[in-house]
């Protein structure tokens, strides 16, 4: 039998899907500390971050590296992405008040200084939006051709009274997305592969910790699972949540909020918007009785205007995501590697 793990690491292992999770399990978890028994959430949980008991509170830690091409894209840039990505990973654990961020930068020889200044300004502005600050950093320069432009790594820490895992779903829980889907990935893709698409496609990259706080406060204890549908899109996020929670998920295609340009670009390029990355969205699992209250709280926030109930959890077909298209039903599959424009 052929192994999932090829001898060479191809791009599909970085696409946030099943291949990447397998790589992490087979390589990075090997010989590492087993799942803690004291209730802490560690590496083995493969959640958005770790949660460590400190007194009667939780210390939440997460880290994320950011590479993107192009570095500046409609709606954002790599600096905004680096801050938002880490702030959002903390928020997905319920830790919405950021204690501190660190930022490490690796720069390619010859990188324009002006671009670096733009990126720094964007980091600063995004930190202000999130109520976060950078307390430590690191800078390296590598030879031309040894990396593509610039790589940013951010680590975030936060203290929280409660932790929301990505595995807390039960049958009948309602699934809410905090806004439109596929904006980031489609905006970036339109600028790649020489597609030359002329459309109003803008990345949604934003720190959503305050939006998430509003949802959590609207119905304390009722938000039982959260995840940000970044690489791999909503499809990967829901697969992971369903698998870890031991439920099935039923989605309603007609309820999915997707902007007209994203829908159009998806049709044109033959790409499933459910597999496309978001950088300013979350999917929340909510107890059914609290769904309307959480939805109202989200919609009252500027970043949650387009929030919608998109599906529910079921006891059947554990670990799978089924989409009701209005014509029939299909299994939602995870992208195998980066979505690419196709001809058939």
């Amino acid at each position: 039998m052929r192994s999932v793990l090829d001898e060479r690491i191809t791009l599909k292992y970085g696409a946030g899907g099943e291949a990447m999770r397998t790589l992490i399990r087979q390589v990075f978890l090997d010989g590492m500390a087993p799942a803690p028994t004291n209730g802490d959430i560690g590496l083995a949980a493969m959640d958005d971050g770790a949660a460590l008991r400190v007194g009667d509170r939780w210390l939440v830690v997460t880290t994320d590296s950011h590479v993107i091409h192009p570095i500046f894209f409609p709606g954002g840039d790599i600096g905004r992405l680096a801050v938002s990505g880490t702030v959002n990973d903390l928020a997905m654990m319920g830790a919405t008040d950021v204690l501190a961020l660190t930022c490490a930068v690796i720069i390619e020889e010859g990188f324009p200084r002006g671009d670096l200044v733009r990126i720094q300004q964007s980091i600063r502005d995004t930190c202000a939006e999130a109520g976060a600050s950078i307390v430590a950093g690191d800078t390296k320069v590598m030879g031309r051709g040894e990396l593509d432009g610039i790589v940013l790594n951010t680590t975030g820490i936060a203290l929280s009274d409660h932790v929301v895992p990505d595995s807390g779903l039960c049958a009948e829980d309602v699934l809410i997305v905090t806004g439109t889907l596929g904006d980031h990935g489609m905006a970036v893709m339109a600028r790649r592969h020489g597609l030359a698409l002329d459309a109003d496609l803008r990345s949604d990259v934003a720190p959503i910790n305050r939006l998430v706080r509003a949802a959590l406060d609207a119905a304390p204890g009722a938000v039982v699972a959260m995840k940000d549908p970044t690489r791999g899109g909503l499809a990967s996020a829901l697969h992971e949540m369903a698998e870890k929670s031991g439920v099935g998920i039923l989605l309603d295609e007609l309820a999915l909020p997707i902007t007209a340009p994203v829908r159009a670009a998806s049709e044109l390029l033959g790409i499933d918007p459910l597999q496309v990355a978001n950088e300013g969205k979350a999917v929340l699992g909510v107890r059914p009785e609290a769904a309307e209250a959480v939805l109202a709280a989200l919609r009252a926030h500027p970043l949650g205007r387009d929030a919608a109930i998109v599906g529910r959890c079921v006891a059947e077909r554990v670990g799978t995501v089924v989409l009701d298209t209005g014509f029939g039903r299909r299994l939602v599959t995870e992208a195998e590697g980066e979505p690419l424009p196709r001809i058939c």
Binding site: L254, I309, R312, R317, L323, L331, G337, P341
Partner: protein
């Protein structure tokens, strides 16, 4: 109607779809025997059936078989190998996104890229020509797809591309392979749903000799949910009534003669030759190769493509044990194959039926047969 979005949405009306689904179920029942097996020969029919969840809504007595209609699935291993070998020899390759992950003997283009090969994904051959124009180094366009796509390659060849632009043609021609399927011994296929976009080029008249020879009905259909359901309904009616004719259910794009200007360009640039289709058979006149006139941009003639280096450390040829051809003919089920679910899985496919998202083997692997996705009520999200 002022906008294309609104007009296309007419073909996505769930109420009309349900009426067609019900009529289809009644028509299948009226045939009086189960299952009724028909074949579609188009990757985009597959994609549409999958995307709209139509398979779960089709009557149980109707077996819609995925035929050899998806270029990703039927591009043969040695053809992928040629692209991989060129990439590993340092030649820059441009190709469609569909082809990047398709496995050759030992490697896909994605694997070659991981080893340092330069692969550019393009949406159009015109983009590949543009990439070639931007530098002096050779660029090989790995050209895949059926006649619809080959027409675009032909147009690019006729548009006087720069001297560093070359074509590695893996283009295929659909009509001959329908003959192969119809002539398979014990085939259960009782009718064909033909591809509306390929027929836009060739015209529906191209199927008349086929129908006359094999006494099997052919329905040309489009790609929206209503197009597919209406096409299937028409096809089942023809099967029920024992009528072997060609019916054009996609008149908004398909005419009897097709697009003559496109055909003229297609045959000026390409000639049909026989060749192997992955997991199916040798298909006479099924492959499109550049005519001698264009030898100067034919990658096979201009580069020394060294395939032996790829085969030296390749795993044993699993493809020999693949029974895709029999599965497509409706004679065997995926579970009859020794490779199914073991050596042949969706992330490491051997045959065409496991490569495609709607291939029979992939469907069985995902659903265990017919997709039963009902049974737990409505979504109630809205």
């Amino acid at each position: 109607m002022t906008d294309a979005g609104v007009t296309e949405l007419k073909f996505r009306d769930p109420v009309r779809a349900r009426a067609l689904e019900e009529a289809l179920a009644r028509a299948v029942e009226a045939v009086g025997r189960a299952p009724v097996s028909v074949m579609h020969v188009c990757g985009s029919h597959e994609q549409a059936i999958a995307r709209f969840g139509l398979r779960a809504a089709l009557p149980r007595g109707l077996n819609v078989i995925m035929g050899p209609g998806c270029p990703v699935c039927i591009t043969d291993v040695p053809e992928v190998d040629e692209g991989v070998a060129l990439a590993r020899q340092g030649v820059r390759i441009a190709t469609y996104g569909d082809m990047v992950k398709v496995p050759g003997t030992g490697m896909s283009l994605a694997d070659a890229q991981a080893e340092g090969g330069r692969i550019d994904v393009v949406y159009s051959v015109a983009q590949a020509v543009e990439l070639a124009r931007q530098s002096d180094e050779p660029l090989v366009f790995f050209a895949t797809g059926f006649e619809t796509t080959a027409v675009a390659t032909a147009a690019a060849v006729l548009q006087d591309p720069p001297p560093n632009f070359f074509v590695l043609s893996a283009h295929k021609y659909i009509p001959p392979v329908m003959e192969i399927v119809a002539e398979m011994p014990d085939t259960r296929v009782e009718g064909f749903l033909a591809a509306g976009h390929a027929a836009t080029i060739t015209g529906w008249g191209v199927f008349e000799p086929f129908v006359a020879r094999h006494r099997l009905p052919v329905v040309v259909a489009g790609f929206e949910p209503l197009d597919i359901l209406a096409g299937l309904l028409k096809l089942i009616e023809l099967v029920r009534d024992g009528r072997a004719t060609v019916e054009n259910m996609f008149p908004r794009c398909v005419t009897k003669a097709g697009n003559l200007r496109a055909q003229e360009q297609l045959w000026r640039v390409f000639r049909p030759i026989g060749g192997k289709w992955r997991g199916i058979a040798h298909v006479p006149n099924g492959n499109l190769r550049l005519r001698d006139e264009w030898a100067y941009l034919d990658a096979r003639k201009r580069f020394d493509i060294d395939l032996r280096r790829l085969w030296d450390h390749a795993p044993p040829a699993l493809v020999d044990a693949c029974i895709c051809g029999d599965i497509m003919a409706g004679i065997k089920a995926p579970t009859d194959c020794a490779l199914f679910g073991r050596e042949c899985v969706p992330h490491a496919p051997v045959g065409a039926c496991m490569v495609s998202s709607e291939g029979t083997c992939k469907i069985w692997h995902q659903y265990g047969g017919h997709p039963e996705l009902g049974g737990y009520g409505a979504v109630c999200a809205r």
